[in-house]
């Protein structure tokens, strides 16, 4: 375990920050340009996982466990969100037979 931690600390922190920022940006772009609710949802998960990766990297860097505990919180709450979110998408699919967000245009001015 010690050697793993040391090997991880060998990778400079900047690389993690850059990688996470890139993954996060891919997630953001996915949310903004895709029209399918499920794919938007997947992009949101990508954003959350970029955060998880960065948190663990910082946690190792600071030698502080609280960052990794936070990752567990994020995973647990993301799971709760998935449960509710998929239920909402199924409810919409039952009414409109589609998961394309363009059919949702009843509310606008």
């Amino acid at each position: 375990m010690e050697t793993v931690t040391q090997a991880l600390q060998g990778v400079p922190l900047n690389h993690y920050i850059l990688l996470s920022a890139i993954i996060f940006t891919i997630g953001v772009i996915g949310v903004l340009i895709r029209r399918n609710a499920i794919i938007i949802f997947m992009s949101v998960e990508l954003m959350l996982n970029a955060v998880n990766l960065l948190l663990t990297a910082f946690s190792v860097h600071h030698n502080d466990a609280s960052g990794q505990v936070f990752v567990f919180f994020i995973m647990a709450l993301a799971a709760a969100e998935v449960a509710v979110g998929l239920a909402i998408i199924v409810m919409i699919f039952r009414n409109t037979s589609s998961t394309d967000i363009n059919v949702l245009n009843k509310l606008k001015w």
């Binding site: 600071h62 502080d64 919180f73 994020i74 967000i101 509310l107």
Partner: protein
């Protein structure tokens, strides 16, 4: 802290009441439970609170005050829920339980002392609200509101989390006391990670409270959700969002005022103009209230732009005034919509002659929202503007006053239809509980307008 535990237990008790088909007991049990929560919270006022649970939470006066406002507004909203949920579905207990769970999240949000608790509080609240927004399973607009709220909420959570992570990377802790020490002890060498984290945190929180340019979900969600849920989201949730926003800024980021003031000022001005000008063009009363809630979020941001010791008082007074006025507006809207089947301005024609009391209460609410003197809304705006003036943001106040004038136009439109237009509609039936809520909220609005000292000097 016993308030938080009581509230969580209460929500589970209400779920079990639903399981045992004790439908008539639901509302009384919920209200009595909330009254107990309110009492327990107020008892901790001035108790010199110290951080508890490994410094995860801090139930100080700030938390007590916002808990009291949120619990109190929820009680008023639940009072008008009599006969409301029964029209939507047979399983009523779930709605009460989910509202109580959302309120639990709100209590965590206003009393956090660690950024992980901020995140958990926001998520407990948001996940409950996604369900509540979509409780009309067969209605397209409710479906759409739920999906929009869910996608935008999850999206903004991503920004919030990335911001928290970068703050953690810079400071090495989630504890806001440690972050505060970091800011104070390195006035010149603050890491760029910290600044980017702060900006992302602002974006995330702005999404949650619905200020421009992150407001686009708000009008749709507020219009599409069932009215009772909309009023809960517009009042209690917005108050809690600002409490969370204010808490971290007041505690940690005040020394970095020069850095974040400019972006927040631009956001405030954008919010005021977009909210007010869009509200002018609405035909539906409910959608007008939705846009007006965006513009009120802009006024509440004043307290953060002009951060100071008076900010807490200003937000408390403003949030109370705005909440009671919105509750009146929605109570009348629910009754009128039940009778007329539409929430356009025309549905309110002739209400002044047929239901003078209801029309009077709605007039008081509209005057308070518009900020006319002798109502609580005026005092709220006055405190916001004077705190901004004391920080020499003169141009900001001038723009805000222009917006307040625009606001008067659309708020008085419904008053004009009530008193000066005629229609052959029947009397809108009110129930004693509705009348009580209307009368009580109108009295609170006027009393706070005349004696603002009752709650404006708490801090």
């Amino acid at each position: 802290m016993s308030a938080l535990i009581t509230l969580s237990v209460l929500a589970i008790v209400v779920l079990y009441l639903g399981l045992f088909k004790a439908k008539n007991a639901l509302l009384p049990v919920t209200l009595v439970g909330l009254a107990v929560v309110l009492g327990l919270a107020v008892r901790e006022w001035n108790s010199n609170a110290a951080p508890i649970y490994s410094s995860m939470m801090l139930f100080d006066n700030f938390a007590v005050a916002f808990t009291a406002i949120c619990v109190f507004s929820t009680m008023l909203i639940l009072l008008i829920s009599k006969d409301y949920f029964e029209r939507i579905s047979e399983h009523v207990a779930e709605y009460y339980a989910i509202i109580l769970f959302a309120l639990t999240g709100i209590l965590v949000m206003v009393s956090y002392h660690n950024l992980s608790m901020l995140f958990i509080g926001i998520e407990i609240m948001s996940v409950s609200l996604y369900i509540l927004a979509g409780i009309r399973k067969k209605s397209y607009s409710s479906n759409e509101a739920a999906l929009k709220y869910f996608l935008m909420g999850a999206f903004s959570t991503g920004f919030l989390l990335f911001g928290i992570t970068l703050l953690y990377g810079a400071t090495g802790s989630f504890d806001i006391a440690v972050i505060k020490n970091y800011v104070i002890s390195n006035p010149t060498h603050i890491s760029p990670l910290f600044y980017s984290g702060l900006l992302l945190l602002i974006v995330g929180l702005c999404f949650k409270v619905g200020v421009a340019p992150f407001h686009f979900w708000a009008p749709d969600v507020y219009e599409g959700s069932p009215s009772l849920i909309s009023v809960f989201m517009m009042t209690v949730v917005k108050t809690a969002g600002f409490a969370a926003f204010l808490r971290i800024f007041l505690f940690c980021f005040a020394p970095l005022h020069d850095f974040w003031m400019m972006p927040l000022m631009v956001i405030t001005i954008l919010t005021l103009f977009i909210g007010n000008i869009s509200a002018l063009y609405q035909h539906s009363f409910k959608r007008m209230l939705a846009f007006s809630s965006v513009s009120h979020a802009g006024y509440m941001l004043f307290a953060i732009v002009a951060l100071g010791s008076a900010s807490i008082n200003a937000v408390i007074l403003y949030a109370t005034a705005y909440s009671v006025a919105s509750i009146i507006a929605f109570a009348v809207l629910i009754l009128v919509k039940r009778q007329m089947g539409s929430d356009n301005y025309e549905s309110f024609n002739g209400l002044g002659r047929k239901n003078p009391f209801m029309a009077f209460a709605l007039t008081v609410a509209m005057l308070s929202l518009a900020g006319i003197p002798l109502t609580a809304g005026f005092i709220g705006k006055f405190m916001m503007f004077s705190s901004a003036l004391s920080e020499y943001h003169v141009s900001l106040v001038v723009l805000a006053v222009i917006n307040a004038v625009i606001g008067i136009f659309y708020y008085l439109r419904v008053v004009v239809s009530m008193y000066f237009k005629d229609s052959d509609q029947h009397v809108v039936q009110s129930t004693p509980i509705f009348s009580f809520v209307l009368a009580f909220s109108a009295i609170v609005t006027i009393v706070l307008g005349v004696y603002p000292g009752l709650i404006s000097n708490l801090f």
